[in-house]
Symmetry: C2
Subunit: 152 residues, 2 copies
DNA sequence: TCAGTATACGACCATTTCTGTCGGGATTTC
DNA sequence: GAAATCCCGACAGAAATGGTCGTATACTGA
């Protein structure tokens, strides 16, 4: 539980890889898949999703492939996960229009929704750029975003 | 993704319910299940799990049932989830002894592990007691725990 | 001591979700 | 036009999840 799907994981890895190779105009799905040893066709579908959601630019034909649509600093892990796995709720009951069947009796969803928001916030505060900085990312990120105050 | 399992959800609901009825010495699995309309046998298994992990006290026989093993304030959502769904990692690769097959090439797991820790921290900072205070929990919790500093 | 109420627990099945594959089609480059 | 590449829906296999059943065990109270 509370686990990233493999697809989301792959997606993050791919974006990270692209961010690390800014010199090349585009990398094919196969290139990235080979680099990490992940199923090429599966990754292809994931990259297509990311393209559809405006995180990547694609280009068909020889020497085609994918490139980041925006600066790595402006793409958050949240966006990636959201693009791949869809809207995300920690609880089964969305608390919105279509509330859970148990709603009347259950008051648990409300505090949990706050946890959900907090986690989303954390994910939003992490950029692809952050993923590429393996040396001392803690310090760098803290600089970049400041301390995030959790108002539970 | 990043979703609580129903079992964990049920577990939290049950603990919350028990916390709200401190006057009764024990409530049976059926009592709680009926209160929320969740499958009694399933809840029973969950409560057994929580008992095994020391979060609940069980008592067989008439007027038996379950009661919190400790004060609601000292039981965290993290413990509950952990007891029910087992150790929890946001990524597939545990970064510990048995690392992922992709490890050599993939540097993504390390920053993600930090996210994992952050989420775990949030969950640890939430007690069953917090879940029972539906009025203004934001303010109360902030008082109780202070601001949590995220050192991403 | 016996009947009734409850927990304990393993086996099992049904459903859903996730992962990965295939095949045909559309675009771009050379 | 041929090769490389993206696009995308359908689908099969695998795994996780949700839920049920049967039985054994423990406690209570009459
Ligand atoms: S589980 Fe749906 S409202 Fe609580
Ligand atoms: S996915 Fe396993 S090390 Fe990154």
């Amino acid at each position: 539980m509370l686990k990233l799907t493999k697809k989301a994981d792959y997606g993050l890895m791919a974006l990270k890889y692209l961010a690390e190779h800014p010199e090349t105009p585009a990398l094919s799905a196969k290139d990235v898949a080979d680099a990490y040893g992940i199923p090429a066709q599966l990754l292809a579908k994931i990259l297509q999703l990311l393209t559809r959601n405006g995180l990547l630019r694609s280009h068909a034909g020889m020497n085609g492939g994918y490139a980041l649509a925006r600066d790595a600093r402006t793409i958050s892990a949240y966006e990636v996960i959201h693009a791949i796995d869809g809207p995300f709720f920690i609880t089964s009951c969305t608390k919105g229009a279509k509330s859970c069947e148990l709603t009347p009796s259950c008051t648990i969803k409300e505090p949990l929704a706050r946890v959900n928001d907090t986690i989303a916030g954390v994910l939003k505060s992490i950029s692809i750029q952050d993923l590429t900085e393996h040396e001392q990312p803690a310090a760098r990120a803290r600089e970049a975003h400041g301390l995030v105050a959790l108002t539970l």
